[in-house]
Each structure stands twice: as structure tokens, then as C-alpha cells.
Amino acid sequence: MSNEKNMVNIYLYGKQYKVPGDLTIMTAMEYAGYTLKRGCGCRHGFCGACATIYRIKGDNELKTCLACQTQVQEGMYIASIPFFPTDKRTYDIGEIKPTEQIMMELYPEIYSCIGCNACTKACTQSLNVMQYIAYAQRGEFEKCAEESFDCVSCGCCSVRCPAGISHPMVGLLARRLTGKYIAPETEHLKNRVEEINKGEFDSLIEQVMQKPITEMKELYNTRDIEK
């Protein structure tokens, strides 16, 4: 696969390397010889460890991406952002309430948003980041939670924000408030936990634990399966 004509030139922290063009930025770094410690996590686009900034030679636009999810291109100047000092405020989830004031208290800088939309342009997940910050400003936590749900906290938005907002932390707060306080309570869950705590399944589970394997096989192989 990596024959000469498929090779591309990339620049890792300014230094040139020739790598197979079908690699991702992450695997290209390893091909070049890097043993990654920082800037590498799940390698499948879920953890946000590999936030990366790049520019294509001859193009002035700075782009952001996840190194594990982005294929290399000819002339790519690459710098990883293995750590970004996002500013997470601490709180007791049991104490706070989903009121408009809570955002004002914990993340007041969101009200300094100048509407430049750089966060949205930088988002490696193509989320409408500025919109979810707007929802947070208005105390519309459920909408903020929904809009920010696919965030992997890579921090590319925060890197680009002139107002110093830690967007992933705002989304996270909105989601926890939504999950705990705003989403409707689950009656069947509450009931089942109570039944178990009252010991209603104790003897049944004991019985099934004591059954010989042959009987368990019979039970398993003939059990009815919900359509």
C-alpha cells in the first residue's frame, strides 16, 4: 500500500516527513517514529485527547481536527494540542439547581461571547457550539445539553475563543443538570430499585443460582424472547 506514489509530505511541528497518504495524522506520527504519550487516547474519536491544529501549505486557513479521525494530506503543517487549560469550575451536583443564575455563578464569561462563531468553526464534531452557549446564556439547559451532546471535550473551541470560554465545561454542566433535574423521573426504575431493596427477588435469585447446569441449559435454550 505504501508505494512511492502514494506518499505525501507532512510537517510535524515544522519538520518534514514523507508518509503513506492513506494514514491518519496519528498513525502518520507513529510511522514517522513518534511514540505517543500525550495527544493519544481512545484512537477512535471519542475521548478528545488528540486535538490537532493544521494548515495546508499555501493556504492561510488554520484548521482543527482529531488526529485519529483525520487523513493526512500533502503539505499539511501539523501541531498537536495535547493539553489545553480549560477552566472547569467545581460544584456539588446535589446542591445546585437548574436555574439561570447557576450559569451566571459558575461560568459568567459565557455572557462575554462576542458572537464571532470561531468555536463552531473549530469544532471537530461539527457541533453548533456558539448556539449551545447561547442556550446556556438563556438558561435553556435542555437545549444546550442536546446541542452539545456529541462533544468529546477536545478543547479546540476554547483554543479559538476570544472571550476565554471553556465551552465543553458549559455543555457538561448543562447535561448533568438536564439528566438529574430536568428530564422526567423514571417511575419503573424507582420501583424496581425499591423491590430489590425490599428483598423481593432474593429467594428467586437464590433458587436460580442453585440449579444444576443441565437445568439452566434447558431454561436458557427454551426461554421466550420479547419481540
Binding site: D22, L23, T24, T27, E30, Y31, G33, Y34, T35, K37, R38, C40, G41, C42, R43, H44, G45, F46, C47, A49, Q69, T70, Q71, K88, T90, I93, S126, A145, F149, D150, V152, S153, L172, R175, R176, T178, G179, K180, A183, P184, T186, E187, H188, L189, K190, R192, V193, I196, N197, F201, I205, V208, M209, I213, M216, K217, L219, Y220, R223, E226
Partner: protein, 532 residues
């Protein structure tokens, strides 16, 4: 993006779709499943395994790559570590910052213990973060923990340890409630009822989900809670060996800063191993869905200290890893894709098996189709189709974006729109069914003050694990380990620390005729081209 051969096969998949959708493929009989597994499951390939030469599991089968690590010396052999210079002194030391470790730390903190997490990457760099499909709990009216037990016990080939499986199913609803109360956003309908689906091998729809970011949503909430509680998290620092006292009880761990290589001593009254899985050992050359740090470190630490393994020879290959394109080869395609309607289809457009057989059976059937020439060729091997356009035909346009957005995004990055075309899949190394053996309370059976939680445990699931029972086990057994470790720490009086077991292990290796310069735990896979 597809090759002409792939496109030709897609046409066959499309041609049979309507007819396929009218009938549910037959489920295999117990005998058919047994025969298929013996013939095609990688656990039955003798050449992938070695025999353990020393220690409590001497004489048993082990994957070659794990065997090599067990047959290696300590990184600390010959190093002078001053155990009197204690860098961290805590009640509970949690090794690993994934879902199990974080749950344990939260509960230990809740119980008033002085707890610390040490993790070789960042907190949340863990398989938990990557779990997509969901988490099981028998919390609906037509379901019960007993039914959950039966599904998991049978799906695991009747090999699960009953006392562990009992805890898993009985504490499942409370685990969901605990997560919900922490603010995890489960998929619910307008009345608050959980939106639940089937997983492979479930007899009731008990799969709870947070779109297809289930693990990520759980992990980021747990991480946030750990930080809110100001629990110390020492990142980019690995545990390289357990420390014992003169009575043979665990008394802490030697840590190593991953960036400066400096050794540090952590003294602890109780230690919880929550180091996760082993996908990055790439058993039998398989790609993996696991995170970068999944190198079985905790198994090595525990075994060298004398804790036995259980079911170390059974590995889960997730049926649907990405087979194409190569950039995301081996990445997970969540089982939820099948839960919400997609069928597995071979090169000729035939739905050769029920889409929701258990994972070992489903993976074996894909391997069979490909081995017998009914797979589609790809640059890195072959695969079968997962007929994703069926989902939107069944449930309406927009379903894929709403319920499996991560999958849609992953494929769109490479110009493949799974709403319109099927995707190519092949099994990927996903989960270590085995691990360190524990009793019902979470402690190892042979070493005092040592607990294990999460994927590093063996015996909860038996010889195969059902979808949604791993996110569940890290929460149930993580919480339990945290509580148990905190309680035990109150009565522990530590003796003088030593690393004598390292020398003893080296002698045992020598006596078994194993001369090695290799060291373990591995810590990180060797991916740099110069190291391969």
C-alpha cells in the same frame, strides 16, 4: 468510496433487502452454535495460545501475547527503589482512571476514605469512554434480575461465577439510578420511561442508552464528579508494581511518571486494580476497538504478586468492527446498529444468520462467511455487510442521526453515508472475558487488601459477555470495590513495605527455564515504526 467489486455486491444487498425485511432470520440451535464456535472462534485456534509456566495458573492456556508478558521480568528488577521515601500516603489507591476506577474513587470518597487515582494517561482515557451501545438493567415490568441472570449465564456458556453474576444483575437497577442521579442523560420518552432495546442474546429489551455515546456520557459524568469532589488524580503516571508488607498483604504500589520516568512510592491500606482490558496486545493479529492503554497491566501486577487469573484464555471479538475504510480499521460499530434493525448480509446479499446472536456466535459466523468465500474483499482482508439503510426504512428518516450519531459521523468522515449504503464489518478484538479472580466482595482470594474491579476481573460474565453488561459491571463492581476498600482501610495496620515478590518471580522464571530480557507490564503498545 467503494471499489467496483464492493459496489457490485451492494447491488445484491439492495436487491434482496425487501424480501429479507419481511422475514426474521432463524436463531441457531445450541448444537449449531457449539459447532460454529469450535470451527471458527479464535479462542479455539491452538496456535494463538501458550501454556503458563509459573505461578498460580501454571499449566493453563493463555493468549501468546499475554503469556509473553507473564513470562517477563519486573521493570523494577535490579532497580533501587527507596520504599522509605513515601511520595503518596493514602487509605485507598485506585489504579486506573476509567469507569470502574472512577466509580470506586467516588464511593470511597463518599465513605470518608482518603482516596487517590493513578492513571497512565488521562482520567477517562479508557474503554468506558468508547462504549457505544448501552448498559443493561432489568428495570421494566416484564423483566426481572432473574431473567437478566439467565441471559447472562447462558450467553457466557454457564461459566460465570454465580456470586459475581448475582451482584451484577441485582445491583443493576441501582447502578442506573445512581448514574441518573449524577446527571447521566439516558434516552427516555416524554413520560420518563427508558428507551430500551435488545442486545445480542437478551430475552428482554433492557439495553439503556445515551444515543451511541453511552460510555462517553457515563465516563465524562463520572470524571466530572471525581473532579468536583477534589479527589486527587495523578495522570500520566503508571503503576509498575504492587508493594507488599512483611505479612504478604498489599501495601501500595510503585508508580512511574510516564514523561520523566521518575519512580514514586504510593503507600495505601487498600489497593484497587481497575486497569481495564488488553485489546492493544492484538491477540492473533486482530485489530482492536480498545483505547491506547489497554495492555493488561493490572493482570501482570496482580499475577506477579500471586493473585490467580480466571478465564484468561477467553477473549471477546466484537462481531462488527470496521473492515473498511482502512483509516478506521478495527473501530467499533456498535451492536446498537443491529439492535435498531440492521441485518448482517454476505457478499451475495444473503442474511446468513440472526443479527442478534451472542457476540461470540455472531463473530464466528462472520469469520465463517469470509473464510468460505462469501465475504467482500477489502484492502486489509475481507468483511460482510451491515445493512444500515434498513434502519431508516424501519423507523423513519432521521433515526440514524438521532440514535447512532457517532457511527454516522465516523463514516461520513470518509465519504460513506450509512443512511444510504451498507457498511463493511469484520470482528475486532473487543473485550477480555477473563482477568483476576475475585470473591463476591471484590477482594482477590489470595492477597489481603487487594481488590479488582472492571474489565480486569475474570468470572463475572463467564466465557462470553453480553452487550451492555460491561458498562454495567464497571459501575456495579467499581462502586462496590470503592465501598469495600474504604471500609477495610479503617482496620488495616500496615507493616514494613517490600518488593521481595519481584525477586521471587524472577527466580521462578529462571527455574522454569525462561531466560528473558523482556519486562512487563507493557504500559503502551509499540506502534512507532522503529519499534515494530
Amino acid at each position: 468510496m467503494f471499489t467496483p467489486e464492493m459496489l457490485e455486491s451492494v447491488a445484491k444487498v439492495e436487491a434482496t433487502r425487501k424480501e429479507r425485511m419481511a422475514t426474521e432470520p432463524r436463531r441457531m440451535t445450541a448444537e449449531e452454535k457449539d459447532e460454529l464456535l469450535k470451527k471458527f472462534h479464535p479462542d479455539y485456534r491452538a496456535e494463538g495460545f501458550a501454556t503458563i509456566q509459573i505461578g498460580p495458573n501454571k499449566g493453563e492456556k493463555v493468549p501468546l501475547e499475554l503469556g509473553n508478558l507473564l513470562h517477563s521480568n519486573s521493570r523494577l528488577l535490579g532497580e533501587k527503589i527507596d520504599l522509605d521515601k513515601v511520595d503518596y500516603d493514602v487509605d485507598v489507591l485506585v489504579i486506573g482512571g476509567g469507569g470502574a476506577g472512577s466509580s470506586a474513587a467516588i464511593e470511597a470518597d463518599n465513605a470518608g476514605a482518603n482516596v487517590m487515582i493513578v492513571t497512565k494517561l488521562r482520567i477517562g482515557d479508557a474503554n468506558t469512554m468508547m462504549a457505544e451501545g448501552g448498559i443493561q438493567a432489568a428495570d421494566k415490568e416484564n423483566d426481572s434480575p432473574v431473567q437478566h441472570y439467565l441471559d447472562a449465564f447462558g450467553g457466557g456458556h454457564f461459566a460465570a461465577r454465580p456470586e459475581l453474576l448475582r451482584r451484577l444483575v441485582m445491583e443493576a437497577p441501582d447502578a442506573i439510578k445512581w448514574l441518573n442521579d449524577l446527571g447521566v442523560m439516558f434516552d427516555k420518552d416524554a413520560d420518563g420511561r427508558m428507551v430500551t432495546t435488545h442486545g445480542g442474546g437478551t430475552s428482554r429489551k433492557r439495553m439503556h442508552a445515551c444515543k451511541d455515546y453511552s460510555g462517553a456520557e457515563i465516563m465524562r459524568t463520572l470524571r466530572d464528579e471525581v473532579i468536583n469532589r477534589k479527589i486527587p488524580v495523578v495522570e500520566f503516571t503508571s503503576a509498575v508494581e504492587l508493594i507488599k508488607d512483611e505479612n504478604g498483604r498489599v501495601a501500595g504500589a510503585v508508580l512511574q511518571n510516564m514523561e520523566t520516568d521518575e519512580y514514586l512510592v504510593a503507600r495505601a491500606k487498600t489497593v484497587i486494580i481497575a486497569t481495564g482490558g488488553a485489546g492493544r496486545l492484538h491477540y492473533q493479529g486482530f485489530p482492536t476497538s480498545n483505547h491506547y492503554g489497554a495492555t493488561a497491566d493490572g493482570l501482570i501486577l496482580g499475577y506477579r504478586a500471586g493473585a490467580p487469573l480466571l478465564y484468561q484464555d477467553t477473549i471477546q471479538y466484537h462481531p462488527t468492527g470496521v473492515a473498511y475504510p482502512s483509516q478506521i480499521f478495527g473501530a467499533l460499530v456498535t451492536e446498537k446498529v443491529r439492535s435498531i434493525g440492521a441485518m448482517l448480509v454476505n457478499k451475495d446479499g444473503v442474511a446468513y444468520a440472526h443479527p442478534l446472536e451472542t457476540r461470540d456466535v455472531s463473530a464466528s459466523a462472520i469469520i465463517r462467511e469470509c473464510a468460505e468465500g462469501r465475504g467482500v474483499e477489502t484492502p486489509l482482508g475481507s468483511g460482510v455487510w451491515l445493512d444500515t439503510p434498513m434502519i431508516e426504512i424501519l423507523h423513519g428518516e432521521g433515526t440514524i442521526e438521532k440514535r447512532i450519531p457517532a457511527m454516522m459521523r465516523m463514516y461520513l468522515n470518509y465519504g460513506i453515508d450509512m443512511r444510504k449504503v451498507p457498511i463493511l464489518v469484520y470482528p475486532t478484538l473487543h473485550y477480555q472475558n477473563g482477568g483476576l479472580e475475585i470473591g463476591g466482595e471484590g477482594f482477590t482470594k489470595t492477597i489481603d487488601n487487594l481488590l479488582v474491579a472492571g474489565e480486569a476481573v475474570g468470572g463475572i460474565h463467564g466465557r462470553n459477555r453480553l452487550m451492555g453488561n460491561s458498562l454495567l459491571d464497571i459501575i456495579v463492581f467499581g462502586r462496590n470495590a470503592g465501598k469495600a476498600a474504604a471500609a477495610k482501610a479503617k482496620v488495616v495496620k500496615l507493616g514494613k513495605m517490600n518488593l521481595d515478590h519481584i525477586e521471587a518471580y524472577a527466580k521462578e522464571l529462571k527455574a522454569a527455564g525462561i531466560e528473558t530480557n523482556d519486562v512487563s507490564p507493557l504500559l503502551l503498545p509499540k506502534y512507532a515504526r522503529k519499534e515494530r
